[in-house]
């Protein structure tokens, strides 16, 4: 049976992991390779690296980092952050990454999804959506797509954008609820369900996990395929092992 995936997400700046590294007992907790190995041993099913480096000159070091991770950690990993051209996708994939995640650049240029999927296959293209609930005065519940790290409202409907991206060739949707993100009060179940039910590709739920029960809940209440985890692992006292044992207890299919 296909397992539900647990995906730690690491923010990378200038080839170093930022956020939450002081809670992990490693010699060099800022090293993406050390952390990747650590999470791999802990039972992560996949990894996600989000590059928040601003300058383009630092891109070369990102490629080197991808190569190093790929040479030492043999589970799938996704790389995202500022990718806006097929040639950039190629460099990262050929360095050993399995998937590319795009967000702002795909909204600006939806053709990027199509070109990437055509060139590398849909399985390489993960569309990230940052969604926020629309003001309450509307009759129907809907969510809008935000870009540029949540700073800019595009006015696009999240469900419609997810459908469009899939029709263009996105192989997975990484869905972050901006309302739930950082609250530690659980995922946005309604949003996740809406998107999961609207598309025929796997959806990765993100934003809001504060305890293992939240992760169990999103898997049980929506048919999402994976959960992306950041602060619950980086800042709190929950390990992947604890999360997975809770999943096992609640009969969520999991890779031990």
């Amino acid at each position: 049976m296909l397992s539900k995936r647990i995906i730690p997400c690491l923010d990378i700046k200038d080839s170093r992991v930022v956020k939450g590294t002081k809670f992990i007992n490693l010699k060099d907790a800022g090293s993406p390779i050390e952390l990747a190995k650590f999470y791999n041993q802990e039972g992560a099913d996949e990894l996600c690296f989000l590059d928040i480096t601003a300058s383009h000159e630092k891109r070369r070091t990102l490629i080197e980092l991808v190569e190093k991770v790929a040479a030492e950690v043999f589970i799938p990993f996704t790389v995202g952050g500022g990718i806006s051209e097929v040639s950039q996708m190629k460099d990262i994939l050929y360095a050993g990454a399995d998937k590319i995640t795009i967000n702002t650049s795909a909204v600006k240029n939806p053709n990027l999804i199509k070109e990437g999927a055509k060139r590398f296959g849909s399985q390489c293209i993960v569309l990230a959506i940052d969604a926020k609930k629309k003001a309450r005065d509307k009759r129907q519940e809907s969510w809008e797509v935000y870009v540029k790290g949540g700073r800019e409202n595009t006015g696009l409907d999240a469900v419609e954008w997810a459908k469009k991206a899939v029709s263009l060739g996105a192989g997975e949707i990484l869905l972050t609820s901006m309302d739930a993100d950082g609250t530690k009060e659980g995922y946005d179940i309604e949003l996740t369900k809406k998107v999961v039910d609207a598309v025929n590709v796997p959806v990765i739920a993100s934003g809001g996990a504060g305890k293992p029960e939240h992760i169990v809940e999103i898997f049980k209440k929506s048919n999402c395929s994976a959960a992306l985890l950041a602060s619950i692992l980086h800042y709190q006292n929950f390990s992947i092992k604890e999360i997975k044992s809770q999943m096992i207890k609640e009969l969520v299919p999991v890779r031990k």
Binding site: A71, F74, A95, G96, G121, Q123, N200, P202, N223
Partner: protein, 225 residues
């Protein structure tokens, strides 16, 4: 030292396969050179993405004959993902795309699955009789020791032996005797491992399947030639 030829068909995962083979101690080279492929001791044929793209690459590089010859020669040959699929006669992808036809049968798209691609960690039910030998002991036979890997898996807990999959199509072999492993996804069972003499081909990605995948590749690399 044994030399492994890793056939370059332009697949995006070739470097991951390269790194994993090196990690388990193989001397491996990425190549599309027929002479080099013929001189190698073991051959790995990777792929991911589109069936038609891999076939186009094989045709444009004139690799069709050398792949057929090398399989007939009896050298250990490992096909991965689309490297498994193109060994068959044809795929449903883009209507109908012709494959290498080394194995009889076709490649079809998932019929019942609600979410395609099938992405993630899943089990393989091995269709081999686990032998009585100790798990992990070295075998002195010329074929890839699938039984040894399979028994290693059954020695572990069921869900501990999962492999990473990412695909939308799967193979349907005409000759059922080559089926060595099956996997279930959304009530649909498909063939995930085939083996015929020196030829073994798998739908999952051993290069991305953690410890279990590395063990699989190690078994292949250690095949006696």
């Amino acid at each position: 030292m044994k030399k492994i030829a890793l056939i370059d068909t332009g697949a995006a995962n070739i470097h991951s396969v390269h790194k994993a083979l090196k990690y388990v101690g193989a001397s491996v080279e990425i190549t599309d050179n027929s002479d080099f492929i013929q001189k190698a001791d073991l051959i790995v044929f990777p792929g991911v993405g589109a069936f038609s793209a891999v076939m186009e690459s094989i045709n444009s590089k004139n690799l069709k004959e050398v792949i057929k010859e090398i399989i007939e020669s009896g050298k250990p040959f490992l096909g991965i993902c689309v490297g498994l699929q193109v060994l068959f006669e044809e795929s449903e992808e883009h209507g109908r795309t012709k494959g290498l036809g080394i194995l009889k049968g076709k490649v079809i798209k998932f019929r019942k699955a609600k979410k395609i691609p099938h992405i993630g960690w899943n089990n393989v039910t091995w269709n081999v009789i686990a032998r009585s030998h100790e798990v992990g002991t070295k075998q002195s036979q010329s074929q890839f020791d699938l039984d040894c890997h399979a028994s290693l898996c059954s020695a572990r807990n069921d869900t501990m032996c999962q492999y990473y999959f990412v695909h939308s199509y799967y193979v349907v072999p005409s000759d059922k005797s080559i089926i060595y492993g099956k996997t279930e996804y959304d009530d649909e069972q498909f063939v995930s491992v085939v083996k015929r003499d020196n030829l073994i081909a798998i739908q999952f990605h051993p290069e991305k399947s953690g410890e279990v995948g590395l063990d699989f590749l190690k078994q292949f690399v250690e095949t006696k030639v």
